[in-house]
């Protein structure tokens, strides 16, 4: 078809000058699809031929060789749109010759004129990509400037419909790889080379655009009238540095590559295009549709294809690739190159990218800047120097001022946070028995506290600005005072507690039961001496804690936010617990070193009793143990049967009361717990053992009922013995059986108790200090059984004994003026007391001169058989009362009873009582207490009735009823009383010594 015919058409005719390029071809394709006729004017080269032939299949397409374009000017009948592309002229490697410049300038002018002539829309498709050339041809850029200038000039002169669009470097499928741009170089290296070269730091910014985005933009710019006379930039939203471009490309290829950094050569520059009045095409609504990654992926796919190589998309298959294929190392073998080793997967790992950025910007860059500064150094003027110094000075002063202003807040906040972390660490330190870390943590706490305090001090200026002292500030100061005193207290406590932790951590058992020969290598002397030395620290810690609490309660908490108020209330509670703990520590600190054998041997005498056969201090005395300590080291651990002692020592003259009661003149070791006063019982037991040369230094005597061992067996599980697994359910039966089978010289029972004791001790000692659950259980058992008197302790050391007495753990019962203590001694040779219930009633008649008391002790024998272990309950019953009590009536003993008054502070009524099976007996006593009720109670309107009922060790399920006549007294309604027609009563289950305290008042008729 001839041009004349071709252009004589009703369809719009578009001419694409220099149109055989990636954008022009795509544009042509779209325009043809849209029903336009497209004429491409370009050079007919071998490379272009295939595109021309392909498009020529469409009858609306025509190609004219630029060399024959003169025909065009003459025969063209219609022209609607002209796109004049410049990219291939600018980006080509060879500079345009003068002849070529003249030739292309003529062509350009001709099409500008044609567009004016046909009133066609004209667009100069300029390019920004020349900036991305590593070798720039000056004349090419000058030609580009020329075309832009001429276009503008035409617009000014003839007001034609023209615009300029500067394209970024267009990439995509079909791109011409012959131009020496950064993108093309990198693409080529990625596809064909084993290494990628980065020049300098790779900061060269590349303005890019995918061909589809470019075509879309050009169409929009051409068809939007608002673009007339303007210059636009059409490129991706952000420029991409060569380094990022390299990383992006590496991410898209699965082949391992070396990244080589090369020094940047000084490139020949060229004049740049004018940047004034240039706007982004996005102003007319264009937006980038294809992001870089997507665009590059398509491009790479294409390039691999034309290179006849297989491209694998690593973003979908990277994990499946072998590691060596994913690795990228950055190095160089080239002369003058920097060798940089980077971790693998650098291009995938943002973190390493960040690190690399820090490396180049913070480490390398400053050197380069200095280097360049030296190289191109110019002496600054005085003005410049002053200006620079002033700027730096102002910044430094500002920084200093802000730091000074903000530091107190930061200091307070950070250190408060750190103080908050300490308690948890202290707990860990203590359970780990780690005194050194504990000290460090407490010292840190003091340090942080000091920091907070000083932070607040630094805010003085803020307070001084206020018209008057701020209550919040005052309260905060008080709080820091509390904190200071408290941290001092903790440091004092640390000094006191550290030797204990060190001792517990180092403690181990060096001897075996009944084998006192240890290794002798253990030495806790230092720790025990430190306990002695640091005793006064406990007192200081305690007093500081009291002062801290005193100060805390004085703080006006209402000035703080609610959350802080809650925290302060919690702190007060913790402080109370802490003070209680210190009180306990204060009480025991004096004798703990003694208990551990400080400077002298201390021995413990353990008396094991079986409460199934009730005796004065708990039960039938079966075994004993002696534990000897010297400076914290266990030197002796003896367990033996009472019968072995009896066999060796025989009997001794019985005490008078025992003679009278039991009708015997001598008594044996197993009867040494006749007296309910543990102090006397312990002394007697010790006398027997001393005769054997044992327990000479027994300073502490402990009676333990088998219930305690059963409790420990429950915690630590069964113990393997030659009789099988022994646990809490069969221990007692086994001991009873072995006792029944006892023959002189037999050690079966002793061996069993020894073995169980040794294994239990080993388990206790080897229990991890972190195993708080187990320790809590052990302490619960010990605490409960001490209260229930299944463990009783006495000592010959006065201070220790008074502490034990205060705790009620010694069974010494004469410390109150109103007490009742009923003691049974089961002499029936059976264990029927297991099914005998004892209940005590105290019926009170309040009089002006004291209180008349009717005391009844009821026994109910629930046994239905006379066969062992059951049968009649035959007990010698003793009732202990204060000497001030007048005995008016005693009734219902089997026969005569005796009354014995001690030298000091009690009287004893004793007599036999037999309770046959399935029957009950009640002892009755009439007493008069001289105690006149006084108003010691909290409410002066009420008087206080007090009675201390002492629990007998080994006796469980005993009930105490305290009864008053209703016509005599009124009781506070809040008390838990049972009311009947004429009586008012309160019932107590006796699980420990019961201190009865009732507020009441005499009834006024």
């Amino acid at each position: 078809m001839k041009l004349q015919t071709f252009s004589k058409t009703t369809k719009p005719l578009t001419v694409l000058v220099n149109g055989i390029n990636i954008v022009g071809l795509k544009l042509a394709e779209i325009l043809l699809d849209q029903g336009s006729r497209v004429l491409i004017v370009d050079e007919f080269t071998r490379k272009n031929k295939k595109f021309v032939l392909e498009l020529s299949k469409n009858e609306d397409f025509m190609f004219i060789d630029m060399a024959a374009s003169e025909d065009l000017y003459k025969n063209l009948k219609r022209l609607d749109y002209v796109y004049f592309f410049t990219e291939q002229l600018v980006l080509r490697q060879l500079p345009l010759t003068n002849k070529e410049v003249l030739f292309y300038s003529n062509i350009f002018s001709a099409f500008l004129n044609l567009a004016v002539e046909f009133e066609a829309k004209f667009m100069l498709v300029s390019t920004l990509a020349y900036r991305q050339l590593r070798q720039k041809a000056k004349t090419n850029i000058q030609f580009l400037q020329y075309t832009e200038n001429i276009t503008r000039e035409y617009r000014q002169r003839v007001k034609n419909n023209s615009r300029i669009v500067r394209l970024g470097e267009v990439y995509g499928k079909g791109m011409d790889m012959s131009y020496p741009t950064e993108l093309r170089r990198l693409l080529t290296e990625v596809v064909n080379e084993q290494q990628i070269v980065i020049y300098g730091e790779g900061f060269l910014a590349n303005a890019l655009i995918h061909k589809l985005d470019a075509v879309y933009g050009l169409l929009k710019a051409m068809f939007t009238n608002a673009t007339i006379g303007k210059t636009y930039i059409l490129k991706d939203k952000t420029d991409t540095t060569s380094l990022n471009l390299a990383y992006s490309l590496l991410e898209l290829t699965a082949e391992p590559k070396e990244v080589v950094f090369r020094e940047e050569e000084e490139l020949e520059g060229g004049e740049d295009l004018l940047d004034s009045d240039v706007v982004e095409l996005s102003e007319i609504g264009w937006s980038q549709k294809i992001d870089l990654e997507k665009g590059l992926k398509r491009t790479l796919e294409y390039l691999y294809k034309i290179s006849k190589k297989k491209w694998v998309d690593p973003t979908t298959t990277i994990e499946a690739l072998p590691k060596d294929r994913r690795d990228v190392s950055l190095s160089s073998k080239d002369k003058g190159s920097k060798v940089v080793d980077m971790p693998s997967n650098i291009y995938q790992n943002v973190f390493w990218q960040f690190l690399y950025g820090v490396y180049t910007n913070l480490i390398i860059r400053p050197f380069q800047v200095v280097y360049k500064s030296v190289k191109y150094f110019k002496v600054p003027s005085l003005k410049q120097l002053l200006k620079g110094a002033l700027s730096i000075g102002v910044i430094l002063i500002l920084l200093a001022v802000f730091i000074w202003l903000l530091n107190p807040f930061f200091q307070i906040g950070l250190n408060l946070y750190r103080i908050g972390q300490i308690p948890a660490r202290i707990k860990t330190d203590i359970t780990a028995l780690d005194s050194q870390t504990l000290t460090t943590d407490l010292e840190k706490m003091a340090l942080y506290n000091n920091e907070v305090k000083e932070g607040i001090d630094q805010l003085n200026w803020l307070v001084s600005l206020l018209p008057q002292d701020s209550p919040l500030y005052q309260a905060t100061l008080q709080l820091t005072e509390v904190s200071t005193i408290l941290s001092q207290s903790l440091l004092d406590l640390d000094r006191a507690i550290s030797p204990y932790l060190d001792y517990l951590k180092a403690f181990s058992l060096d001897v075996e039961v009944n084998n006192p020969v240890g290794h002798g290598s253990l030495n806790y002397y230092q720790q025990i001496q430190a306990m002695e030395s640091n005793k006064s620290s406990v007192s200081k810690a305690y007093q500081k804690a009291l002062l801290a609490q005193d100060q805390l309660v004085k703080i006006d908490k209402t000035v703080f936010p609610n959350s802080v108020q809650t925290k302060l209330t919690e702190l007060n509670q913790y402080l109370s617990s802490y003070i209680t703990l210190l009180e306990e520590f204060e009480e025991v600190k004096g004798f703990v070193p003694f208990l551990l054998g400080s400077n002298q041997r201390v021995e413990y005498l353990f008396m094991f009793q079986n409460a199934d056969e009730l005796r004065s201090t708990g039960g039938w005395f079966t075994n004993y143990a002696v534990v000897g300590l010297e400076n914290g080291v266990v030197r002796e651990l003896t367990v033996d049967d009472v019968y072995n002692v009896e066999g060796q020592v025989g009997s001794m003259a019985a005490p008078l009361d025992m003679q009278q009661a039991l009708g015997i003149s001598k008594y044996s070791f197993s009867q040494s717990n006749w007296d309910p006063n543990m102090y006397i019982t312990g002394k007697r037991a010790k006398t027997f053992l001393n005769k054997m040369g044992k327990a000479q230094n027994a300073q502490v005597i402990i009676a333990i009922n088998t219930k305690v061992l059963e409790g420990l067996l429950d915690i630590f599980g069964p113990v393997k013995t030659e009789y099988g697994d022994v646990d809490s359910t069969n221990f007692q039966d086994l001991v009873v059986q072995l006792h029944k089978d006892f023959e002189p010289g037999s050690t079966n029972k002793t061996d069993l108790v020894s073995e169980i004791m040794q294994k239990l001790m080993t388990r206790i000692i080897t229990t991890d200090s972190h195993d708080l659950q187990t320790w809590v259980k052990v302490f619960e058992i010990l605490n409960t059984q001490l209260a229930r008197k299944n463990i009783m302790v006495v000592s010959q050391r006065k201070s220790l004994n008074s502490w034990l007495n205060e705790k009620g753990w010694d069974s010494v019962f004469t410390d109150s003026k109103d007490f009742i203590f009923v003691v049974d001694w089961n002499a029936g040779g059976n264990k029927v007391n297991q099914v005998v219930n004892r209940s005590v009633t105290v019926n009170n008649n309040v009089a002006d001169q004291g209180t008349n008391m009717n005391l009844t002790i009821k026994y109910l024998n629930q046994a239905s058989s006379n066969n062992y272990p059951y049968g009649a309950y035959k007990s010698y019953v003793r009732i202990y009362l204060p000497t001030s009590y007048k005995i008016i009536k005693v009734a219902n003993f089997d026969s005569n009873y005796s009354v014995r008054t001690s030298k000091t502070d009690y009287q004893e009524i004793g007599g036999w009582l037999t309770v046959p099976i399935s029957s009950s007996r009640t002892l009755e006593l009439g007493l008069r207490s001289p105690t006149i009720l006084s108003s010691e109670s909290f409410d002066p309107m009420y008087l206080e009735y007090k009675l201390n009922y002492i629990k007998q060790s080994g006796l469980e399920n005993e009930a105490l009823r305290v009864v008053f006549d209703l016509d005599q007294v009124e009781l506070k309604q809040s008390q838990d009383f049972i009311l009947s027609q004429d009586k008012i009563e309160k019932i107590y289950m006796i699980e420990s010594d019961q201190k009865v305290k009732l507020p009441l008042r005499k009834k006024i008729n």
Partner: protein, 223 residues
């Protein structure tokens, strides 16, 4: 004319905000490093300490000399006056020098606190037992707080509940903290039934907290 990076000018507001963030970021980093490593305290304890007074200790014993041990390290014999000591809480042990019977006397052990720029004063008498020994230890701490122009006095003791009298005025029982005291020298009397009282002068200065810890001599019951 080779532009490596084509920079587009940032929006001035964003630029300003970035500068502010950078500025405060630097401040935050400085503050964090400064406080996290307690540099102020470190410097004051190392670098600055050589130019300023550190803690000092003066120990005097009645009726004879005694060797003075601080955390089991002998530091001298009474009367002792030392300066340039490290601050902290230590265990002080006084061992009476006795040529005739060195084991007769009890070693008096108690905690002492040493603080920077202050002297801790200790006066003691060493008896044959712990109960028959006494001491009084005091040190002053400087307070910087705005509201603490007046002096404070904190007293702790062994035993507890010792009666405190200042210039004859009953001030309660130990432990006690007294606030808002005017500066000046006061007569301090510490007494408890069954114990030998202590009377001493005490000087209070504004903006200070004086800590007094003491132990009374227990009078044997048969006297």
């Amino acid at each position: 004319m080779n532009k490596k990076v084509t920079k587009k000018a940032l929006n001035p507001t964003i630029r300003f905000l970035l500068l502010v963030v950078l500025f405060f970021g630097i401040i935050a980093v400085v503050l964090f490093v400064f406080n996290y490593f307690n540099l102020r305290q470190q410097w004051s304890r190392t670098f600055f300490a050589q130019y300023f007074d550190r803690a000092a200790l003066a120990v005097a014993t009645k009726h004879g000399e005694a060797d003075v041990y601080l955390n089991e390290e002998k530091i001298g014999t009474t009367p002792l006056d030392l300066s340039n000591l490290s601050p902290g809480t230590f265990t002080l042990k006084l061992v009476k020098k006795s040529t005739s019977n060195p084991d007769f006397y009890h070693n008096l052990v108690f905690p002492v606190t040493l603080v920077d720029h202050s002297k801790t004063f200790i006066e003691a008498e060493i008896g044959p037992t712990e109960q028959t020994s006494w001491y009084i230890a005091s040190y002053a701490e400087e307070l910087k707080q705005a509201s603490s122009h007046h002096a404070r006095l904190i007293l702790t003791s062994q035993p507890l509940d010792v009666k405190i009298e200042i210039d004859g005025v009953d001030k309660g029982q130990t432990p006690v903290s007294l606030y808002n005291l005017s500066s000046g020298t006061y007569k301090l009397r510490l007494s408890k039934i069954g114990y030998q009282f202590i009377e001493t002068d005490i000087e209070l200065k504004d903006n200070t907290r004086v800590n007094v810890d003491f132990k009374l001599y227990k009078i044997p019951l048969d006297i």
